[in-house]
């Protein structure tokens, strides 16, 4: 046995195979990108430990993550946004962490996505657990995990096939996902269509929708199919009283120490808007939340300029409209005096 020759063969074929794999995925329209994962979130969360006077924290779910453009926020307000919104999750666990474990008393923007925020306060429920997992990871992450993240960033930025997401929807080119999508059948229950990726995020968690989602209707339709499958499934009734009470209690504590709390209802369209308006009527949910929490509140339905924005898959704004939404929202909040700590310099 000539081990040296075997090694040379292995290195050569291995290198060529990986190169071919990378080229294949690039030819399929995939590009290197950073994945939104628990490490990005934890790095942002760490900023709240030494928050400045002009720090603005943002919590909520994916809508506010996509719809508030952090670069515009920064230039328009001269404040430093810390993006802690969590995709597919309730903001309550993160709000509780901020209230209980930090002395942050700046401006806190809360994105309200009714099916997520009003769903439940049960800690084991998926929407709650997803946020709580991030909070727990922030406190428990090891030094090895921090180093792994730092080392994975250059790889994510350079190679299209590298994925480092935590959720099923993050990984669409790893071996496990490819096998899963190979030959699905309904033996084990209904099959959801594949959730194609449409995120483009920076290390500071500045999220933009990808151009493909904006320009390729067929691609956008694949995500609409996922939403349709999710929204037409069986869901327990929302726990309106429980969620509003839990949120309002945290709001009271936060405001009592001088925090500036602002609720934002970001746009939705199509099936999402229909389900939300019927299942979570504004008067019964949003209005009660605003009243009981005593927070300043902005609902896109109240502003004519937010009525015809482009949401390619019904739930998140296309980049250009997200930039418009951010600019307009800041204008409105400034004119209301809602942004107490923004810097005019």
């Amino acid at each position: 046995m000539q081990l040296k020759q075997s090694l040379i063969i292995a290195v050569t074929i291995g290198f060529l195979s990986v190169t071919a794999w990378e080229l294949y995925w690039r030819s399929q329209g995939h590009h290197p990108n950073i994945d939104d994962n628990k490490n990005l979130w934890a790095n942002q969360r760490a900023k709240l430990e030494n928050s400045q006077e002009n720090t603005v924290a943002i919590i909520g779910s994916s809508r506010i993550l996509y719809d508030l453009q952090l670069d515009i926020w920064k230039t328009e307000t001269n404040t430093d946004p810390v993006m802690l919104a969590t995709q597919g999750a309730s903001p309550i666990p993160v709000f509780k962490d901020i209230v209980d474990n930090t002395d942050f008393s700046g401006t806190l923007l809360v994105g309200v996505t009714p099916p997520l925020l009003f769903a439940t306060t049960y800690p084991e429920a998926e929407f709650m657990k997803r946020s709580q997992t991030l909070v727990d990871y922030y406190y428990n992450r090891t030094y090895a995990q921090r180093i792994n993240h730092k080392l994975s960033v250059p790889l994510q930025k350079s190679l299209a096939f590298i994925r480092d997401g935590d959720e099923n929807w993050d990984s669409d080119v790893d071996l496990k996902t490819l096998l899963k999508n190979l030959n699905p059948d309904e033996r084990g229950g209904p099959i959801y269509p594949p959730f194609n990726n449409f995120e483009d995020i920076t290390l500071e968690r500045h999220m933009k929708m990808t151009k493909r989602m904006e320009n390729d209707t067929a691609y956008a339709n694949t995500v609409k199919k996922v939403w349709t499958a999710i929204l037409s499934g069986d869901h327990p009734p929302p726990d309106k009283d429980g969620t509003i009470a839990a949120f309002s209690e945290l709001a009271k504590k936060f405001k009592a120490r001088g925090g500036n709390l602002i609720l934002i209802r970001c746009p939705s369209s199509g099936l999402f808007q229909m389900v939300e308006s019927k299942g979570f009527p504004r008067e019964a949910f949003w209005n009660v939340l605003v009243e009981q929490s005593g927070a300043k509140a902005y609902n896109y339905l109240d502003y004519p300029q937010f009525q015809n924005l482009f949401l390619p898959e019904w739930s998140h704004l296309a980049l250009k409209d997200a930039q418009f939404f951010t600019r307009e929202l800041i204008k409105i909040m400034k004119s209301d005096g809602a942004l107490t700590n923004y810097n005019t310099n």
Binding site: Q5, S6, S17, T142, Y143
Partner: protein, 471 residues
């Protein structure tokens, strides 16, 4: 730090560079390895390195005293000190909550209304491995079976050597410490073979365990409902494969990494799923633990020296404690108990119904053994008895209307992987990877190596922890 992580790749490259560059003397290299081992462990939770230090200092001191002390009473006292500290760590960190829970349950059973809050103690990674390793040193010193380590550095490196620190193999002092006395350097072939073993170990962990089997096993055992027989069996054999690939993968990585440094670690697995009976299984599965339990528990309990009944009692006790070693839960004790029962039944069969194993009935016997082992894995994997019992009932088709939760593709995938695993173990049971590789053409080995590397890269993995780290 995990072998299947980017930080470990960087760590290993730095360690190998420092080891092979002519910067240090042999003592300097050993110091560097020791420091690297503390960094390897400390990057997970730095304060818990203190436990390693305490264990090292106590056993070094006890060993030194045992080497010169003649007074039997004092010798026993030094041994007891070592046992007290090491088993005390285990009792507090690993079994604290379990002991408390059972104490509360016992009180309540006697009508005493007593409640206690769980202590929520962090479990130091690999504590069961390094405490058993250091204890073996003191016990062997007590029995005058080995010479004391020449220097504190050699001993500390024996306790902490990073390739096998957190999940074994549990190496005896005589196998490892003496290797540190002379300068070690891997030959080119040893180095490349070590790299090959590291690739195989990572392939087993990242591709076979995490990518192909873990999800099916997690789905079945986390279903929370009564399952169809097919789903229960597939989930169980998926776990059977997962735990083998996960643990054998770790051991293979550890052996490969040590070999790249010129250090030889013993085998920990020898194709266990082709075992012919249960005595054979325990000579092939987690060999370093089973031989530890045999030498330091089963034989001191009397072994087979005091008649059949005492032997069965010793066997059952050893297997119960072996089960408890894996985790602080009754399900692990039942797992150990089942294996103890199998071993006793096997001895009764050999006594009253002996038969000759031929090449014709061998594979059938191996399959029966494998199937029985799979049943025990249900108790090992299930978090509660209710889950385990429901799984067993489903596996014996007693739950006619059980839910179907797996897709046909998952069933096919797991069936193929586990059938190949079984056949591969059967073919390999009387040989070794090294022997097979010697007969394999160079280019075939290179292509197989490249395929494994490619699959590891495209599987990517999510840095899943090795299952045995929690033990």
């Amino acid at each position: 730090m995990l072998f299947n992580s980017l930080s470990f790749v960087v760590f290993l490259v730095i360690v190998l560079a420092l080891y092979y560059l002519k910067l240090f003397s042999w003592t300097g290299k050993k110091r560097m390895l020791l420091l690297a081992s503390y960094v390897f462990y400390g990057l997970w939770n730095p304060p818990l390195v203190i436990l390693l230090w305490i264990s090292t200092v106590v056993d070094w001191t006890a060993g030194k005293k045992l080497a010169v002390e003649e007074n039997q009473k004092k010798r026993k006292m030094w041994l007891m000190l070592s046992m007290f500290v090491n088993l005390g760590f285990l009792a507090f960190f690993k079994y604290g909550d379990f002991i408390l829970e059972n104490f509360v349950a016992l009180m309540n059973a006697f009508g005493v209304d007593f409640q206690a809050r769980p202590m929520d103690i962090i479990l130091p990674m690999g504590i069961s491995f390094y405490t058993f390793q250091t204890m073996s040193y003191t016990i062997d010193m007590y029995k005058r079976k080995i010479e004391p380590a020449r220097t504190f550095l050699d001993f500390a490196l024996y306790v902490t050597f990073f390739p096998q620190l957190v999940a074994g193999p549990i190496v005896r002092a005589k196998e490892l410490i003496s290797q540190f006395y002379e300068e070690k350097k891997a030959t080119t072939n040893q180095f490349i073979w070590g790299l090959f073993l590291l690739t195989i170990g990572l392939f087993q962990k990242v591709v076979m365990a995490d990518t192909l089997l873990a999800d099916t096993s997690d789905t079945v055992f986390g279903a929370g409902k009564i399952l169809n027989g097919v789903d229960a069996w597939i989930g169980t054999i998926a776990f059977s494969g997962q735990i083998f690939f996960d643990f054998a993968g770790y051991s293979t990585c550890a052996i490969g990494i040590a070999l790249m440094l010129g250090i030889i670690l013993p085998d920990n697995f020898r194709y266990p799923y082709a075992s012919l009976g249960f005595s054979d299984l325990w000579k092939r599965w987690h060999i370093s633990l089973s031989s530890w339990l045999k030498d330091y528990l089963y034989i001191p309990l009397g072994g087979n020296r005091h008649g059949i009944t005492r032997m069965y009692v010793a066997l059952m006790l050893t297997m119960f404690l072996g089960g408890l070693w894996h985790g602080a839960a009754w399900t692990f004790i039942v797992w150990g108990g089942l294996h103890g029962t199998y071993l006793i039944l096997e001895r009764l069969q050999q006594q009253y119904l002996p038969f000759k194993i031929t090449k014709w009935n061998g594979i059938f016997l191996a399959f029966i053994t494998f199937s029985c082992v799979n049943i025990t894995w249900v108790f090992f994997r299930a978090r509660e008895f209710e889950t385990a019992w429901n799984m067993i009932k489903s596996m014996f088709y007693l739950n006619q209307d059980g839910a179907k939760i797996l897709q046909s593709f998952d069933i096919m995938k797991v069936s193929i992987v586990i059938s190949l695993l079984f056949l591969c173990h059967w073919i390999m049971r009387n040989t070794s990877m090294k022997e097979v590789s010697l007969k394999t053409p160079t280019w075939v080995l290179g292509v197989v190596w490249a395929i494994m590397f490619f699959l590891i890269v495209i599987a990517q993995g999510s840095g899943e922890q090795f299952i045995y780290f929690q033990f």
